[in-house]
Amino acid sequence: MLTFTVRRLLQLPLVLFAVSLIIVGMMQFLPPSARAAAFVKSEQQLAHIDEIIKQYHLDAPFYVQYWTWVQNALHGNFGFSRVAKKPVLEAFAEKLPVSAELAFYAFLPMLIVSIWLGTLAAIYRDKLIDQIVRVLAVLFWSIPTFVLGIALVAVVYGYLRLFGIGRLPSDLIIELAQASAVGKFHYYTGFLTLDGLLNGRLDVTWAALKHLVLPALTLILVQGAQLVRVMRSSMLDELGKDYVRTARAKGLPDRVVYYKHARRNALIPIITLAGLMFAFMINGVVITETIFNLPGLGQWAALAAVQLDQPAILGFALLTAVIVTTANIVVDLLYALVDPRIRYE
């Protein structure tokens, strides 16, 4: 298992090299004047495009730009993100926890609920519960995230006056900014729910949790719907197999057949899907982050792409490569846990 992991990890640098080369290469298809867009804030500045191109060496040849970037990157300098207004690494340190915190709180409930509902729907196939689960799953799966998100903002936040947008209410944002400026509050992890505890500020943790409810709910409903459907069909597949019939024939109680035998095997496709979903969530969920105003990776990456913020796009792509590769390794290892027939030697 160790050799397997190491071998897979060794592929990573190669992936990173390829990804960075492709991205820098693609950006070079755009002329320098289009790449200057990241620098133009107002129509006035159109008057100074030639100077801007010169100033930021946007007209340097492809290999020069790539080589400069590689050299800097090897020294830990991934450049300055014009969208984040700070060095790329600093921006990551700040934004990754925002996305990761949301992913963390959305993922586990989503996984538990959807496995439970999917199993239930399969066991009670074509019964009322199955019908309800199926309709709801299709419904939430087909509602675009931005519609569901804005509906939640309008109804739950705006009309019912529950929960919040952003990461914290404004009075806490101001108070924490003041407190951290004089060293009375520390951002140890960037996870506000955790930092609240570490600073002995339960009110911060509580407020941060309340502000996570709506975005987490959005993710749970939209992504979970897909998981439920996969879980249901995978479970149905297993229930139709010979070993289930054998187990029943030898008199095992239904509970044991369903939950100990069939469901365990039905989890394999769920692990694949959920692993990728988790990677995708950590990596930032653009629409959810934008609607609920969470300054995470997704919002940043989307703006960076539109404004052609090259260092940010590159950094983001590399991080994505790392996260997805890692998630795949974890998923492969989990297979072995679930299915004893799978071994990595």
Binding site: S33, A37, Y56, S170, I174, H211, F292
Partner: protein, 588 residues
């Protein structure tokens, strides 16, 4: 009693926030601050913070653009026929760091702008007045001496440039600041009111690794991207508010206890970037925001105006300090230009000199339905412009005629164009707009509908592109017709008139205006200080621009401000990025 307590607990437990505290102002807006360095900032989001934290020598008297009041100076005099400005600085002013403000700080601040002056900063218009170049030393050297100049010549040029910077701003004693201009310049005073022309804390800046203020290290700072320096995300100004935190998005500021002026009522400010408009509106509705940015009048009328507890501030006399125009390019790039079609007068395209013909320009001008723009885009609340100048500016002539949709006149001019040839051959032209810009899109579609209707041989292609592609096409001078605006850098008409109409102005040059009489009028207005005479000259420019139609201004939307109704003291100064200063408002 018990019920109340229970409700209170329930409310706080569920997060039912009531309005923000009385001493706190929460503004939800869109678009991130680019930088907090006054020498670099050239966008409204950045200047909005800077104008509340840093201070300039003089400022606007509330919402007036023509009356000023002293801020960090107490008085000033103009000498040498407009070449020398002497400012007497306020005593007893402290920076947020605790350092005392003297003219050393002022000298440092202005010289810092002149030394660095990166291509994407506002420094060009200060340098134009003080040094005589509108670019930094290295860019000026390249313009003068070419790309790889003789090192000796380069050194001589840079030395000379430094001498000019050094001599242009002088600090005498502790509180007398003198500017020596390259030549008399009636716009100079207005330039000093730009938010970025602020006094920064020189001791503090130098201690944190910014330029030393001497010739020693000045070359390393020429044209430097200031976003990677200390002043990019740290501020020590003299203003009523000091920066607590800026994380690249949200800004937290608090009242500065040591402020020299009147203590502000609002003690804490949070400027939150919420790019999603429906989210901002819900936050306003709930009382989580005291002011929000609303992007269009359509949204205002349909979703905001009727929210209980919300106040919409507007006034029919308000107009933005901006102008926009439809430009007719008399000299678009002739080679490899996809927007000219065949590049010939053959019905399949247009020749590069298409808009050199006055009749073509006028025919296009009569295709723009100004009333429809106001009715459809601004829901009836807009201002038509007679010339490319904000109506509140000196020299604006409201009595001049305006081109508006007139199919008969259009047809008459098209029939006269190219000696009558155009009507028979026809043409095909491409008009670009950037996606999301509804003004540009509407005008482009107006051209298509109104021009194609008049003659089946006339074809107008309308193409929406992304902002980077739009910028590229503009900078390569490819567009035969384009629609662009200009926001005021400083409250002087020259900022618009020269830019739009002079043959060497940014837009004038881009569209190949060659009109000696126009240039003469504009240049004359640049050299005299008598406001009445200048206004008269600008009236003549406006009249000539109507007669020759090198461009046609399009209407501006009437501005409005949206706050909770307990906010008072709100005013509209179009030159302020926030339209009012935090120190002037309070919450009831």
């Amino acid at each position: 009693m018990k019920k109340g307590l229970l409700a209170g607990i329930l409310i706080s437990a569920l997060g039912l926030a009531l309005a923000t505290p009385k001493d706190t102002f929460v503004h939800m807006t869109f678009g991130e601050v680019d930088t907090l360095d006054p020498a670099q900032a050239y966008d409204t989001a950045s200047n909005y913070i800077i104008e509340n934290v840093y201070e300039t020598l003089y400022t606007y008297k509330k919402d007036s653009l023509t009356e000023y009041e002293p801020l960090l100076a107490t008085s000033y005099e103009i000498k040498d026929g407009g070449k020398t400005y002497v400012f007497h600085l306020r005593k007893g002013v402290k920076f947020h760091s605790g350092n005392a403000m003297t003219c050393k700080d002022a000298e440092y601040s202005f010289e810092r702008v002149l030394v660095t002056n990166p291509g994407d900063s506002w420094g060009w218009f200060l340098a134009e007045s003080l040094v005589g170049y509108d670019v930094n030393a290295k860019a000026a050297a390249e313009e003068k001496l070419g790309k790889n100049p003789d090192p000796k010549k380069l050194k001589a040029f840079l030395d000379d440039y430094w001498k000019k910077i050094d001599a242009s701003v002088e600090c005498d004693g502790l509180y007398t600041l003198t500017f020596h201009l390259a030549k008399p310049d009636p716009t100079f005073f207005a330039k000093l009111l730009y938010a970025g022309a602020a006094i920064v804390d020189s001791k503090w800046a130098i201690a944190h690794g910014e330029w030393s203020g001497t010739k020693k290290d000045w070359e390393a700072w020429i044209g430097k991207d200031l976003r990677q320096g200390y002043l990019h995300n740290h501020m020590s100004g003299t203003g009523p508010y000091k920066l607590v935190k800026w994380d690249g998005k949200d800004v937290v500021a608090e009242a500065f206890d040591g402020y020299w002026g009147k203590k502000p009522k609002i003690k804490k400010v949070l400027v939150q970037v919420v790019n999603e408009e429906p989210t901002r509106i819900e936050a306003l509705k709930r009382g989580d925001a005291d002011r929000i940015a609303v992007t269009s009048r359509a949204v205002l009328e349909s979703q905001v105006r009727n929210i209980p507890g919300v106040k919409v501030w507007e006034n029919k006399n308000w107009a933005p300090a901006a102008a926009g125009a439809v430009f007719f390019n008399q000299a678009p790039a002739a080679k490899d230009n996809p927007y000219l079609g065949s590049g010939k007068l053959d019905g399949q395209g247009v020749p590069p000199d298409f808009f050199k013909d006055e009749h073509v320009r006028k025919a296009f001008a009569y295709a723009i339905d100004q009333d429809a723009i106001i009715d459809e885009l601004y829901l009836g609340k807009g201002v038509k412009l007679t010339m490319a100048l904000p109506p509140s500016f000196l020299g604006y002539d409201p009595k001049l005629p305006i081109y508006s949709y007139d199919p008969d006149k259009m047809e008459a001019h098209f029939k006269k164009a190219f000696g009558g040839k155009l009507w028979n051959t026809g043409f095909e032209i491409t008009i670009l707009y950037n996606e999301g810009n509804r003004v540009r899109q509407t005008i482009a579609e107006m051209f298509k509908a109104n021009i194609e209707e008049i003659n089946p041989k006339f074809k107008v292609k309308v193409q929406g592109v992304q902002w980077p592609d739009f910028i590229r096409a503009v900078s390569k001078r490819q567009l035969p017709v384009f629609i662009l605006g200009w926001g005021a850098d400083y409250a002087d008409p020259d900022n618009f008139i020269y830019t739009f109409y002079h043959s060497r102005g940014y837009y004038g040059n881009k569209i190949g205006i060659k009109d000696q009489e126009m240039d003469r009028l504009i240049e004359e207005a640049r050299t005299i200080t008598d406001a009445k005479k200048r206004a008269e000259l600008y009236h003549q420019v406006g009249k000539r621009a109507y007669e020759t139609a090198p461009l046609v201004p399009y209407p501006l939307p009437s501005p409005f401000i949206v706050t909770r109704n307990n906010v008072t003291g709100v005013y509209y100064n179009p030159m302020l990025s926030g339209t009012f200063l935090w120190k002037d408002i309070e919450k009831k």
